[in-house]
Amino acid sequence: MLKADFEKELWHFNLQVSFEVHAGQVLVLWGPSGAGKTTVLECLSGLKHPDEGQISLNGKLLFSNTGGINLPSRKRRVGYLFQNYALFPHMTVGENIDFGRRYQPDKDSSYQRWWEDLMQAFGIGHLINRYSYQLSGGEKQRVALARAMAVRPDLLLLDEPFSSLDHETKLDLRRELNAVKKTWDIPVVLVTHDREDADALGDCIITIDHGQMIQSQRMQTANKPNTQICNSL
């Protein structure tokens, strides 16, 4: 379970969030551009650090200003899908997905199986020798997601995953994402300004504006209706 409760002073306003997300649940942060959504993801992943508060994942503290804890990104085991995918242009698809392999504590056969399952789940096995400039938008998205998942993360962060895709591809990928998220069983935080994406994927939707959580809504379709899900605290 991911628990986050922190504050960060930004250029124009103060970002203040507080929520928890269970394994297998998708929390959507929905709001206009510039509301501070991406900064939340950057704080969760360790790319930026909050001014105050705490972030914990499965009981382990990732950040705590009172405890003086700020785990670097590379030690957080967080999968991060960037808005423009950030696929390394000088590497092939295969090299991109393999980038994090050498930093994995367990490079054994179970990792190999995980890797093969990923290639299959995303249907990208035929792309491994291509470069990112040779991929379509949907393919890039799949590859970037596979790369984020290749490090066997304990938390998945998705930043506007569908913003640069056409409508058809978007529907396909939404379906796929809904199908695979159940098998991963980790908390997912998704940032979007598109209400349709939010409704289609979220178990819980938090509306953010000017750094403040102004509304939170649990979805009926939540797949664990009887348990406590992604509460805003």
């Binding site: 950057e42 992943s45 360790g46 790319l47 670097p72 990104s73 590379r74 957080r76 967080v78 999968g79 991060y80 960037f82 808005q83 423009n84 950030a86 390394f88 242009p89 000088h90 980038f99 994090g100 050498r102 930093y103 994995q104 470069y131 990112s132 400039y133 790369r147 984020a148 290749a150 490090v151």
Partner: protein, 226 residues
């Protein structure tokens, strides 16, 4: 035309190539980390450092040469120290390397700075979330992506080092067989009416530089296909 090859002094060619390679190496080793630091960190006095390291690009080479003389001349700050240890830099081929490195430094620095700035920080962030430490981020992501710009800087500084004249003349003089580089040799050959040497050296340095630039441009096109 029958060229009497044995009448030509080949030493300047050998020295110029040696100096250009060494200077480009020295400049790369110093300018790359500095460019990276200046790109990444904002600190007090950064503007001053920036202006100072760019100075040799805009100052007349004779001013740079005079400055170096003040520094490494026998009564200079560093020169005095070296003299007490029984060493002397002025009028040796090391002084040629020093002069060439100082004038070439801003070219490497500026190219590297621009090259690092052009790398989208999202790639570096992605590498961090995938488990890479800062060194790995630099060598696996930043450096390969900045490489075309860095290579341009290397070629520019190599060429600048090879063509250096004014500062070299002031700190190393024109000693045939010791500190005489191609540009110096050409100048003094023309002055003394030795057309054979002047023409040969001009031909060699022109062809060499042309081939170098051609090769780099082709290589860059191949590398930058993405």
């Amino acid at each position: 035309m029958n060229i009497p090859w044995d009448l030509i002094d080949w030493y300047p060619i050998w020295l110029s190539i040696k100096v250009a390679f060494l200077s480009a190496g020295v400049v790369a080793v110093l300018a790359l980390p500095l460019a990276r630091l200046m790109e990444k960190y904002n600190f007090r006095g950064r503007d001053f450092v920036e202006a100072f390291v760019t100075l040799p690009l805009v100052l007349p080479p004779s001013v740079v040469g005079y400055g170096l003389l003040v520094l490494i001349g026998r009564r200079g700050l560093l020169g005095n120290f070296l003299h007490n240890m029984g060493l002397s830099l002025v009028f040796t081929w090391w002084a040629v390397v020093l002069a060439a490195s100082v004038v070439a430094f801003p070219l490497m620095y500026q190219s590297a700075r621009g090259a690092f700035a052009s790398v989208n920080p999202d790639y570096e962030k992605a590498a961090r979330t995938l488990g890479a430490g800062e060194l790995a981020v630099f060598f696996r992501v930043t450096l390969p992506l900045a490489w075309p710009g860095i290579l341009s800087g290397l070629v520019l500084s190599f060429a600048r080092a090879m063509g250096e004249f004014g500062a070299t003349l002031m700190v190393a003089g024109n000693i045939p067989g010791r500190t005489q580089t191609i540009p110096l040799a050409i100048y003094f050959a023309v002055e003394s009416g030795d057309k054979l040497t002047a023409n040969t050296l001009v031909g060699i340095i022109s062809v060499f530089c042309f081939a170098l630039i051609l090769w780099v441009n082709r290589w860059k096109q191949k590398y930058q296909q993405y």
